[in-house]
């Protein structure tokens, strides 16, 4: 298959239902596995972590439990993707992605190019970000920035059940490797989600979650509920914030981001990643380069501090960005 521009994706919404973010993950996978028998799911303890329904619906050919060998079962899935399957790899906790980084970066992201397009790697890597729950530093990373620096991957960070379902389904149908970072803090959060089995949200499209005119707040992943709350408070102060969710970090939908900043002239970026080399940093760089003339004030990054996630709840709760931080940042640039 040669390089082609993504087929226009049909976005239909015949009926909708209230669905949790977790159920959206399960449903997206189930629907895609029913639709296409090349889609298989592999991971550790696949029967738990929301996988129970899949284990009950598919046999061991389609849902496989893995020994604790992250680099190799990830590589195994990549090899399978190269030879006719479309695997979904559940890496469970995002801090474990480092163990599979070699296979994800050196193999999955590179092999299409390195073979001159002979091989394609249609694979989805799922990684769950479990933080804010006292898991301490070895279990609490939000490492999407890490993988953003490797060309060849597509990276998505859905913030609602609908985005999760539509983007995860698009990821499974994409012919390139896609990493999807899920946020455990959103698991229970419900949302109206289309029941159309072909409901898709295209990769690479940002979404304006709240229109506004005075300041652009770019919200990454699970920052969204908190950012929307901040926007509400700001509204009471008379500041109209436009909340934009990139949804896809690679490729970035620069156009929508730039258009919003062109309108507001002010930019705050909110990201649960550690500050240095966060997704917020990349977006700030893009805007400082491509929309500088629109900017009236310094770009503000509101991020997690450059400190490891501490176990103690009194320490952990102060490391992540809060609505107060967002409001403070917005006020700083009024």
């Amino acid at each position: 298959m040669l390089d082609t521009i993504n087929e226009p994706l049909i976005i239909a919404e015949p009926t909708s239902t209230q669905l949790s973010y977790m159920d959206a993950i399960v449903q997206a996978q189930k629907e895609e596995m029913l639709r296409d028998e090349r889609v298989v799911m592999i991971g550790e303890d696949v029967s738990i972590y929301g996988g129970t329904e899949l284990v009950r619906s598919f046999d061991e050919n389609r849902v496989r439990n893995m020994p604790i060998s992250e680099n190799s079962f990830t590589g195994m899935a990549i090899g399978a993707a190269m030879t006719g399957l479309r695997p979904i790899v559940d890496l469970t906790i995002a801090s474990f992605t480092y163990l599979a980084a070699d296979q994800i970066i050196n193999q999955a992201s590179k092999l299409r190019y390195m073979t001159g397009g002979q091989i394609q790697v249609p694979i989805v890597f799922r990684a769950g970000m479990y933080y804010k729950i006292g898991n301490a530093a070895q279990h609490s990373d939000r490492p999407y920035p890490f993988f953003m620096s490797a060309p060849g991957l597509k990276i998505i960070v859905p913030s609602t059940a609908a985005d999760m379902k539509g983007l995860l389904k698009s990821a499974v149908r994409d012919d390139d490797p896609v990493m999807i970072f899920e946020d455990c803090n959103l698991w229970a959060k419900k949302d109206l989600v289309s029941t159309d089995p072909d409901f898709l949200i295209p990769i690479g499209c940002a979404d304006i979650k709240r229109p506004g005119s005075d300041v652009t707040i770019i919200s990454i992943g699970a920052c969204l509920p908190m950012v929307l709350a901040a926007a509400k408070t700001l509204q009471k102060q008379g500041i109209s914030a436009e909340v934009v969710d990139p949804r896809t970090l690679v490729p970035l939908d620069k156009e929508v981001l730039i258009r919003s900043v062109a309108k507001t002239g002010r930019l705050v970026i909110v990201d649960n990643a550690h500050r240095t080399n966060s997704a917020a940093s990349e977006i700030a760089a893009v805007i400082a380069e491509e929309a500088f003339e629109s900017l009236r004030k310094p770009i503000q990054r509101v991020t997690t501090a450059d400190v490891h996630i501490p176990f103690s709840p009194v320490l952990e709760k102060i490391v992540y960005p809060t609505a107060a931080d967002v409001i403070g940042a917005v006020n700083k640039i009024q």
């Binding site: 439990n65 450059d306 400190v307 501490p310 103690s312």
Partner: protein
């Protein structure tokens, strides 16, 4: 080295400490991976070590420091996230590393501690001490590449390392039978030219014996050993898991709890010794109960870390930090 009466009583004390500590944890608002059922394996191994020897452990981190002789109060305080905790509240339940008794890390990255233990052995060798390093890891962890890589490293460089597998039959919900090409992990040793030993992990004395031989080998410069202790976890993997598909039967659990409790087995062995009687054991148990109660009170009464100290302990030599 054969065990004297005082050693036996110390071994019993440490096993009880783990058991009673963990029972107390169950009553506290703490999520944890408990070591109940695995006390014989842990303490049997640690008793073969000197105080200045090293160990590394796992996410199931409460038993290892206790087995190595740690004071209980800072461990309990850590579980509650207090500043008096062994890790100043930064580590928590999966990371009760007490460096003062030689714990070089309790890694919640499965398989992550195995290279660290190998490195502690390497360090001892380079520094020319006769310290040894013992690495606790699970049956699940044995499938990480770090295990085979580290065994090979230790074999090539003849490092004073004991690879000690607590094979409790499961990695969360995944049984050894369904995750290992063959079920005896000790058999892997042969591929790296080192001895591999299987031992009954519920029999602390057997564990001690096998560990002691491995320690002697290591201390004499004869290189690493792999020990696989067949043991069993009495509790759920950890207490916040929602496992809807059962992976082990109640009969299996009952069998182990009833017939294979390492404390009961060791008690029987001790009471069969002429020099030890029930009073010895009862008074130890009573002491440990008091000790654990004191640890809980200490933990509960301790302060939380000051949020102003968030950045403390990030760097030895902080430069422009925090930015």
């Amino acid at each position: 080295m054969s065990l004297r009466k005082s050693d036996h009583l110390e071994m019993y004390r440490r096993m009880q400490r783990i058991r009673i500590f963990e029972e107390a944890v169950k009553t506290l608002p703490v999520e944890g991976h408990l070591s109940i059922g695995q006390e014989g394996a842990i303490v049997g191994a640690c008793m073969a070590l000197r105080d200045d020897d090293y160990i590394t452990g796992t996410h199931r981190s409460h038993g290892h420091p206790i087995g190595k002789g740690a004071t209980l109060a800072p461990l309990m305080a850590e579980l509650l996230g207090k500043v008096t905790g062994i890790c100043r509240g930064r580590g928590g339940s999966m990371h009760l590393a007490d460096f003062s008794v030689g714990v070089v890390g309790e890694s919640a990255i499965v398989g992550g501690g195995i290279p660290l233990a190998t490195g502690a052995g390497f360090s001892a060798q380079v520094r020319g001490t006769d310290q040894v390093s013992l690495c606790f890891f699970g049956d699940g962890a044995s499938n990480q590449g770090t295990f085979s890589e580290s065994m090979n490293l230790a074999a090539v460089w003849n490092l004073p390392v004991i690879f000690f597998c607590e094979n409790n039959g499961y990695a969360i919900s995944t049984s050894v039978g369904k995750s290992h090409g063959q079920p005896d992990i000790a058999k892997r040793a042969d591929g790296y030219g080192i001895p591999g030993v299987i031992v009954d992990g519920q029999d602390a004395l057997s564990v001690y014996k096998a560990s002691n031989e491995a320690v002697i080998r290591a201390r004499n410069g004869d290189g690493p050993t792999l020990i696989e202790a067949k043991t069993y976890r009495f509790e759920e993997h950890c207490d916040n898991l929602n496992i809807l598909i059962p992976y082990r039967s109640q009969e299996e659990i009952d069998h182990h709890v009833t017939n294979r409790d390492p404390l009961v087995i060791y008690q029987a062995a001790l009471l069969a010794m002429p020099e030890i009687n029930e009073k010895d054991l009862d008074s130890i148990t009573a002491e440990v109960v008091t000790e654990v109660q004191a640890a809980v009170e200490f933990a509960q009464q301790s302060a939380y870390p000051d949020p102003a100290d968030l950045y403390q302990h990030m760097y030895s030599t902080p430069i422009h930090y925090p930015a």
